[in-house]
Symmetry: C2
Subunit: 441 residues, 2 copies
């Protein structure tokens, strides 16, 4: 019998962890509902045709693919074995979802005739990626997404930022919410004469945190962008505030539009009096290619941790599935990283209120029988009550109560049984008094 284990990069969550994760999810969900987002859920498995090509070549490789049922190898020849990437697509039709945005776009397109736009949805589900596991990076992790599609109103950019602000205020740790706009990045590329290299530039800038400014320069140069252009990009990235970008982008229509959009969004956000810093960051790029307008990123202050929350506007995500012209904007909370931040800062409440309130215990069979009556009465009154499953000695049932963080133990010995009462022990103070079970609540 080999020792059981779980796949690398995956985790079990024990009772305290689940309670704490639910504590975070409940706060996020409450905000989603308050802001008018409605829940949907999509299947863990999607057709690979839905997923492939949406996350770049690297993403395609990181998709978990599910082997077809039955004789999947039927008709295959030795030749097929030589190209494993092609072969994978012959023997796998389905894969596990990689994020919640592409399934959402697929859902919107499939339900286009029944949905009323703008459609605001939230979705809280796990996603799977075959990344190399490392600290803070898992192969199964949870995303908490809110998106609205079918409107290009900047109201939603502001609303999503204020919603994130509210969630972190409630969770109890300060964050910085950074904003940029893909149109500003497009304007930069235009002014620098590398409009056709926008993606190369964006992908390089996106790595700033990891590889530093010198690394970004090198990457752009390595991809054939000229010294002059790279110098100009540097100048943009050093801009302090939206105002200082205006003259630099004076000649770019798209750049000006990006600035105007962000100014509108910032004005709306300010009127909502956010409790956290909300700041423009010209170096914010976001990796995903489908963003076309505002982009967001949130970092926890005082903790070494990557982005815990991001998002942005995408003008044509549903176009990938044949439904053009539906603009959307959304955000995604990274539950696992928020959990790690909360843990590091010791921000979880001591008691999350779900452990039993009282453990009943008896020394012998007659006492156990009475204890069972007490148990039934307490539960009838909706008290979270437990009964130690057999007559036992105090050290046994007290240890059990302690380990389960049960604050009260109702002990039944022969005296208590004769009086029809219980000896109620407070596990924190150690105090003990004889009471009727009807007094327990």
């Amino acid at each position: 019998m080999s020792k059981p284990s779980i796949p690398s990069g995956t985790r079990d969550f024990g009772p305290d962890q689940v309670d704490r994760r639910n504590y975070i999810v409940d706060i996020i969900k409450k905000a989603f509902v308050k802001y008018g987002y409605r829940p949907i859920e999509t299947p863990a498995m999607e057709n690979l045709s839905t997923l492939m090509g949406k996350y770049g070549d690297e993403g395609d490789q990181l998709l978990f693919k599910i082997l077809n049922s039955g004789d999947f190898a039927k008709g295959m020849t030795a030749e097929d074995l030589s190209e494993h990437k092609k072969l994978a697509l012959k023997i796998c039709e389905r894969g596990l979802r990689y994020d919640l945005t592409v399934p959402f776009a697929r859902y919107v397109v499939m339900n286009r005739n029944d949905l009323v736009f703008p459609f605001k949805r939230y979705q809280i589900q796990p996603v799977w990626r075959g990344d190399r596991p490392q600290k803070g990076r898992y192969r199964e992790f949870w995303q908490c997404d809110a998106d609205v599609v079918g409107s290009d109103s900047l109201l939603y950019e502001a609303e999503l930022v204020l919603m994130m602000d509210e969630v972190y205020a409630e969770l109890g740790f300060p964050v910085e919410i950074k904003l940029n706009n893909r149109k500003i990045l497009a304007g930069m590329a235009e002014v620098c004469g590398i409009a056709d290299r926008l993606t190369t530039m964006t992908v390089a800038i996106d790595k700033l945190d990891k590889i530093g400014p010198e690394g970004v320069r090198k990457e752009m140069l390595a991809h054939g962008i000229s010294d002059e252009a790279v110098d100009l990009v540097d100048k943009f990235l050093a801009a302090q505030g939206l105002e200082s970008l205006k003259p630099l982008l004076a000649d770019s229509g798209i750049g000006q539009k990006g600035i105007a959009e962000l100014e509108d969004v910032f004005a709306k956000i300010r009127r909502g009096s956010p409790r956290n810093t909300v700041a423009f960051d010209p170096t914010l790029a976001r990796g995903l290619n489908y963003y076309t307008g505002a982009i967001f990123e949130v970092k926890a202050l005082g903790v070494a941790m990557g982005s815990i929350n991001g998002g942005g506007r995408y003008d044509d995500l549903t176009g990938l599935f044949g439904l053009k012209g539906l603009s959307g904007v959304g955000i995604s909370f990274g539950l696992d990283r928020i959990y790690d931040v909360m843990n590091e800062l010791s921000l979880f409440p001591d008691s999350l209120g779900n452990a039993p309130r009282i453990l009943l215990a008896a020394f012998d069979e007659p006492g156990f029988d009475f204890a069972y009556d007490c148990l039934l009465e307490l539960r009838r009154r909706n008290v979270r009550a437990e009964l130690y499953p057999e007559p036992a000695k105090p050290q046994k049932f007290l240890k059990y109560a302690n380990s389960r963080h049960i604050p009260l133990v109702g002990i039944i010995g022969s005296e208590e049984l004769a009086a029809g009462k219980i000896a109620l022990k407070d596990m924190v103070s150690g105090e003990q008094r004889t009471v009727s079970v009807s007094e327990v609540d």
Copy 2:
């Protein structure tokens, strides 16, 4: 661009469906917490070595297997292609979980040193099976499990039955909870002289609902059980009540033990005053081989639907992973079938309380600006408020409010703007009055 779709046997859940599913889950979860069960969550993917061989040969075939990353075909030859079952295990190390019981047993064994027994856990997660999809049977469906391991006290059998009873009373439809005991089935087999064919007999009896008594007879005969034995089994299955079984099982130690256990469990259940019928059923067999004591099954009354809830005691589930002697007992609610029953009986409350309370809307830009202020004020007071994302005509925003079931619309025209008020329209009565936004709650 091909039309997007989702894999056969899987489903999307829209907002109303998610609300309704959560309504059921919350009631089940509340009962689990009240009875002292604590949540755990396990990964969707398990090592195939954990899953294979636990659900019979058929189960092994129904497991969804995940293709290994990288060059999974490396070193393979044409010969490997001829045996697809073997090949699958060469190219797949992981699979999707098939139920929540085996992952739970695996969890208990991996955490044996940190857990305090009896360990009571609940787990509410999806499972995946490659069954042929049909009405009421899906390839992704949710189980809501509660189990306790590390005690053989019959207290838990009674507690689980009372907990199921409480859940259905709360959900609002009547059920019949049927009980049997595998020891009684073992006793039957012993008395019929087919102790070595217990599994054959159990598997046949388990199909009674599907194939009828004649089908059960045929199946047993086809498997080489004698006419005399089959006649005797029939006699057992026709038994009315535990009492009438006693003489029939007088010569079987294990049969007598099964009867004694069930009598104890029934006595404890009766003291809890269940609101639904709880009855002994000698024909209840349950398919899974690991049950060794009490077995449960729940059927909704007045609805044509299979079992919606089942469970039982298993004496050595963790033994499969090398930890012997840990008795357990558990139940599993089938969320999808309960949903179907509730839907068929129209038992969901009309409003599940999550739709926005008010939609603000304006005719022009100045009004929209004021409406945004109103939106911020309402949200500051935690009112679920929305703003129609652009100035619009009434037919547009009223249609939107209607389709989203928003009961109030706050309209801002030039008069309202001048007065700093809103025209509050009640979407149910059609009434409209001018109020200050501070009056809305």
